[in-house]
Symmetry: C3
Subunit: 167 residues, 3 copies
């Protein structure tokens, strides 16, 4: 048997598609990763928007899913603050203040997270509901995604982790 | 002493009365229940709306509580999405998409949770504030509720659980 | 070695600057404190507003941070409900209902938390972004604050705690 202490683990459910909550999620994930923790992020509901491509339309079956995916287009460049979005002015201001303070932007935090081995899991139930086909996930930046799974996979990871957050 | 491994446990604080967050709570709770985990849900603040009856007025003492319970009527049929509610159109669309994808609706998930032994606890402090009398809880679907308790009861369960979420 | 059982621990990330979520955070923190648990609260993003002074302007460097800190002024007296704020009427009503039900107001809960030894830690990253200088934190009620730290400090506490919540 291996006597080394087990790595500490964290899971984060990224439910919200808002910029400020996505930033909080990835600041925690990258910090944990750089401390040697094992981190798994589960993207669900509006949180799927964080992993959508910024370019092109999203093909989705049926008129309702087309409408939903037009309104709820997603992509890191389109995320809003949860308050003070102000038609984009507030969100742009926060991005500028982050740059001034040398805080990495969301895109950079996401790349850092991947480099640190943070796992990105996409919720299959949310995909089904929103017409984002798991078999043909043209809407997502698939190079970022480590897998597609449901709540049981999340719970398996969470029961084994020291820190579990719903953001 | 019993040598069987103890059951894994989860607690969820259902703070928000929004449909999407209620769905996330119950998808997690029913999945955990079907995996043999012990699940306790604490309904507090706006989360009380999930357990209110859909029918009839809510009797509440005093003019302010009457106003609050009229605005904040609650009941599963009245819950909104946290975004894209759009006067009800967005919320109706999500319910339709769930049905198309064979995802159980909130009502069904709640029944499944009860069948799986998930415990529903109502926060007494929130009840007091909102004029939902604990001794005469005519506003609630009492057949769903396993008990009324405060934060100390929650903390007792949470310190003993592997997974604790605030939703 | 000391044979007494270790104290149970809780951490709370106070992300939201909304009155109802702040109340939930402090009701949990004071209850845990009175049960003998060790509680650490991390104030980040909009949650910094809970610790801002109610009086005077907030000096901040640069026009954008001045604007942000004017819009996002903070202080316990200015926190809104997450719903039914209604230009202040809803928020005032909830405060009145709390008083009627003998639920302590936010200010009182914060004082109780300090008396019970709950630790208040301010997120340095958020401070940097919002122009709330860590070295000269004139915006904050510094007598309440136990320290300024980043995500690594939070994760150190969280991996050691039984209950971790993001509110």
């Amino acid at each position: 048997m291996d006597d080394r202490p087990e790595k500490k683990k964290m899971t984060i459910i990224v439910f919200s598609g808002e910029l400020d909550k996505a930033l909080a999620s990835f600041i925690l994930a990258t910090t944990a990763g750089s401390m040697g923790m094992e981190v798994t992020m589960f993207f669900t509901f509006w949180g799927l928007n964080v992993l959508k491509k910024n370019e092109g339309p999203i093909k989705s079956p049926g008129i309702m899913r087309k409408m939903l995916n037009r309104m709820n287009r997603g992509g890191t460049k389109r995320l809003h603050l949860s308050k003070f979005h102000m038609m984009g002015a507030g969100t742009a201001m926060i991005k500028k203040l982050m740059a001034d303070s040398n805080i990495p932007q969301l895109e950079e935090l996401m790349r850092m997270a991947k480099d640190l081995g943070v796992k990105f899991i996409v919720c299959t139930t949310s995909c089904g509901m929103m017409g984002l086909d798991v078999q043909n996930p043209e809407a997502f930046r698939t190079e970022l995604i480590d897998g597609y799974a449901g709540a049981a996979t999340y719970l398996g990871a969470a029961t084994d982790a020291e820190v579990n957050l719903f953001i």
